[in-house]
Symmetry: C2
């Protein structure tokens, strides 16, 4: 049998491909995983571009490019920081929140199909198992989310 990380990345890729295919069918901008992670992050907390870069595991300059794209496409906007005149909060627009809602539904559909294929208990075991492993390795600080190739 394949080594574990190989299985992980192949399954990630398989799910991601299906997700992307269905997104494309409804004709959205060419959003990449990184964009999705930004949405998810912004929903959870107020954040600046620097925060986003840290979360994605890239430099603030790279994060700025991504934020610019999302801005052009109307998914986020920047508003002044209430106390720090240098900083700007990046916030989701309605379009951004709608996307996120749609994506969440899609993910849970795909997870449902996975459960149909291999059984819900197995899916649950995978989720709790990997969560526990990440907790074991990273403790409470955030694990890397950017795959390396």
């Amino acid at each position: 049998m394949e080594p574990v990380p190989m299985l992980l990345v192949m399954a990630y890729r398989a799910m991601g491909d299906q997700f992307h295919d269905r997104l494309r069918q409804i004709g959205l901008e060419p959003l990449r995983p990184a964009h999705g992670y930004v949405f998810r992050f912004l929903k959870a907390k107020r954040a600046t571009t620097v925060d986003i870069g840290q979360h994605l595991g890239v430099t603030k300059q790279a994060a700025a490019k991504i934020v610019n794209e999302l801005d052009e496409w109307g998914y986020v906007l920047r508003e002044p920081h209430p106390t720090d005149k240098r900083a700007q909060y990046v916030t989701l627009t309605t379009k951004g929140r709608d996307y996120l809602k749609f994506a969440d539904n899609l993910w849970s559909d795909l997870e449902g199909e996975m459960a149909d294929a291999i059984g819900k208990p197995t899916v649950d075991a995978i989720k709790t198992g990997l969560t526990a492993y990440l907790q074991h390795v990273h403790g409470d600080d955030q694990p890397g989310i950017r795959p390396v190739w």
Copy 2:
């Protein structure tokens, strides 16, 4: 809880980071995951650069660059194809096979540590579950191994 693909990619990254750290400690060339996949592929079957590109999910030109690196570093060599004068088989050198052996040991160490952390039955469930899922999605043709970001 995080969506499944997020867990998959975080766990992939976590294991990969540990693998890479330990590799670096013993001072090997900057081998990336793609190189490892090539070794694994070459062990399984005789292959040309074109075959490798197909396996990795990249163009033959990109595959050629990778093969060139591995050649310079002494992990592979090219030998003439017995019947097709255009083609060359890429084959592992002793150094390549040694690396692969070392890497396999390291992976199984890491998998053992994972089992210590979350229990061997859980690890087994993850492996068989993901394998079954991939079988479900891809049937018998090879799933993509290159993560998208």
